[in-house]
């Protein structure tokens, strides 16, 4: 499943990032890459940004980007 399908509070391990190097690099810089555990903190109305916890940081990424991050739920 992708991030947008996770429920608030769920944890998951990133499996794959479906995108070109642009997206992969951007997410990588924030620490989101295959093998990393993330927690979904919240989402916004109407396909708004999704907020995740990666390690000790919280990040907000756009809905479209969130759809491209596939996770294995824990």
């Amino acid at each position: 499943m992708d991030i947008t399908q996770m429920k608030e509070g769920d944890k998951g391990v990133v499996v794959e990032i479906c995108g070109g190097c642009g997206i992969v690099n951007k997410l990588d810089a924030l620490g989101i890459r295959p093998g990393v555990e993330i927690t979904k903190i919240s989402s916004q109305f109407l396909r708004g940004p999704v907020i995740l916890q990666v390690g000790n940081t919280q990040v907000a990424i756009g809905y479209g980007m969130a759809r491209r991050v596939l996770v294995e739920p824990k």
Binding site: G48, P49, I51, N56, I61
Partner: protein
């Protein structure tokens, strides 16, 4: 002169360390050809003066954004020492940049910042071990309390380069190794601020929270802004004005020059004297609100609230083709359009800047004008007030939607780190404020004086009268307003709030008041804003935006004249 670069991820507290190292002589600049800013200052090491640069935050040396590109370029220009500021509560992610920096030729020293926060995060880091592994000095610092800064400065000479090698594919593996050797994690306590963070970002609680913050912001800004105006105005009118009038009259008895410097009438806001109106506008009218707004903005920024607002508003703003972060310039624009314009620099694409600018200029009047409208229209009934603001809101939103469709290009998705809430460090706040004010004084003020000069010349040459006769009268009749209003419209260019006040003697009925108010908000930006607009967007784009606004204002008011 030796050069030190402060490099690190965004939100690691570089600016606080920067402000602890540097003195008062700091300037913020834009990297040439971009809208990315960096700050430069100086520090003294013994007898030596050293240049210190606060480089834009970057996660990696393979740039994924404009800010990162600039960081890499600044690095490429060379330096003598790099202070790599690391967020100790996020060691793993921060080491990404560190390892990349250690591969280079410039000596590095590491500041493990936010050291005080590691405790309640349940994180323990073995500093000595980290130093051994990486081969460079590592100093635990807390920018806010100043802890460790002295040690950092003392050990600058120990920094080394090229101390850690790795293979690119193994990078994260290496980082994982290092963190497991150096870091111990135990239970994390939830703090009060963590709770507040949750509340402020979840939409159901976040939006009411944001509205409260907004309300408080307006109150505070208005208080500070009006307070400063009531301080500056008497000083200007009672001391400066007589002084300058006497001096100029005595030194230059030539009428033309007299008019040029002092204006054609003794009332400051009714003419275009270089030394009267030219200084009155930036210092008495604009500066107080700019100061007030930058003050509040810097607090919100240092607390860490801004990214959360960007997230809350992102969905709505994306429909208009702009980024969540545009919320900040828009908010600034509620107080004074000038800092609103200046703030559009944070937007990455030209397209976004245009849409954002139009939105900022049209969505609501600036605070002084708002106040005037409230006092003038309010007595007729609150529903008329709401009508005016609703009209403005709808017009600007519709305009945004249209621009979004017309202007080619994509708007990048929101992608931002949400830092934990932190208590701001006051000296850094003051320094930031000072930097921003300096920016305004050095950039906007000369522009405004220049603008007044041009208009002054036009006025003296009688060209303004020409415009009044050719354009003014027909416009005013279309709007159903008395033709004497033309002078008010012209005056509104100099000072928007005064133009509203000048509607009083006309005894307009409520329909005319509404039309006049809407028109006076939309038709043109005030002189200060126009000049900053020209500087920020270039004359061609600026003219297009102004023409757009003017056309819309006419269309809307004609429509209103018909409907109401």
């Amino acid at each position: 002169m030796q050069r030190i670069l402060l490099m690190g991820n965004p939100n690691v507290g570089k600016s606080v360390i920067f402000s602890r190292l540097t003195g008062v002589n700091v300037i913020a600049s834009n990297y040439p050809g971009t809208t990315v800013g960096f700050t430069k200052g100086y520090m003294k090491l013994g007898e030596e003066k050293i240049e210190v640069i606060d480089v834009p935050g970057t996660y990696t040396l393979e740039p994924t954004s404009k800010a990162e590109e600039v960081a890499v370029e600044i690095l490429g220009q060379g330096a003598d020492i790099i202070i790599n500021v690391i967020d100790s509560t996020n060691l793993e992610r921060n080491l990404n940049l560190t390892l990349q920096l250690l591969k280079r030729d410039i000596p590095v020293i590491i500041a493990l910042n936010f050291w005080d926060e590691t405790r309640h995060h349940g994180i323990k880091i073995d500093v000595k071990e980290l130093e051994k592994i990486l081969g460079v000095p590592v100093v635990a610092t807390c920018g806010r309390t100043g802890e460790g800064i002295k040690e950092l400065v003392n050990r600058l000479s120990e920094s080394k380069s090229r101390t850690f090698n790795y293979v690119e594919e193994e990078k994260w593996h290496e980082i994982g190794n290092i963190t497991s050797r150096v870091q111990k994690l135990s239970h994390r306590h939830h703090t009060f601020l963590d709770r507040v963070s949750e509340i402020s970002i979840r939409p159901s609680t976040g939006i009411p929270f944001a509205l409260v913050i907004l309300f408080l912001t307006f109150k505070l800004v208005r208080f500070i802004g009006e307070g400063l105006i009531s301080l500056f105005e008497p000083v200007f009118n009672n001391y400066y004005l007589p002084f300058i009038s006497n001096t100029v009259t005595n030194i230059l008895p030539v009428k033309f020059l007299h008019d040029l410097f002092l204006g054609t009438t003794p009332k400051v806001m009714e003419s275009f004297g270089l030394l009267t109106t030219g200084l009155y506008i930036p210092f008495v009218v604009v500066l107080p609100y700019i100061f007030a707004f930058y003050f509040v903005l810097s607090i919100l920024e240092d607390i860490g609230y801004l990214p959360r607002i960007a997230v809350l508003l992102d969905v709505a703003l994306h429909k208009l083709g702009i980024h969540g972060y545009t919320a900040i310039p828009i908010l600034l624009g509620f107080g004074c359009k000038v800092p609103g314009m200046l703030a559009t620099r944070i937007l990455e694409t030209e397209r976004e800047k245009i849409i954002a600018t139009a939105l900022i200029l049209m969505i609501a009047p600036c605070m002084p004008q708002t106040a005037m409208i409230i006092s003038l229209v309010g007595p007729h009934g609150t529903k008329y007030l709401l009508m005016i603001f609703l009209i403005l809101f709808c017009v600007s939103v519709v305009n945004g939607l249209i621009l979004n469709k017309i202007l080619k290009g994509e708007t990048p998705e929101l992608f931002v780190e949400i830092p934990p809430y932190r208590v701001p460090y006051i000296p850094t706040l003051i320094k930031k404020l000072w930097i921003r004010l300096k920016g305004f004084l050095l950039e906007a003020v000369p522009l405004i004086i220049f603008g007044v000069f041009i208009i002054g010349i036009l006025d003296v040459l009688g060209i303004t009268n020409l415009i009044v006769n050719i354009l003014g009268k027909p416009i005013v009749s279309i709007l159903g307003l008395p033709k004497e209003m033309v002078s008010v419209i012209i005056l509104g260019f100099l000072r928007k709030d005064v133009s509203i006040a000048l509607l009083v003697p006309f005894n307009l009925d409520i329909k005319q008041l509404i039309i006049a108010s809407v028109f006076l908000v939309l038709y043109l930006p005030c002189i200060a804003t126009s000049l900053v607009l020209i500087k920020e967007m270039g004359i061609k784009t600026a003219l297009k935006i102004v023409a757009l606004m003017f056309t819309i204002s006419i269309l809307v008011t004609v429509l209103l004249n018909y409907i109401l």
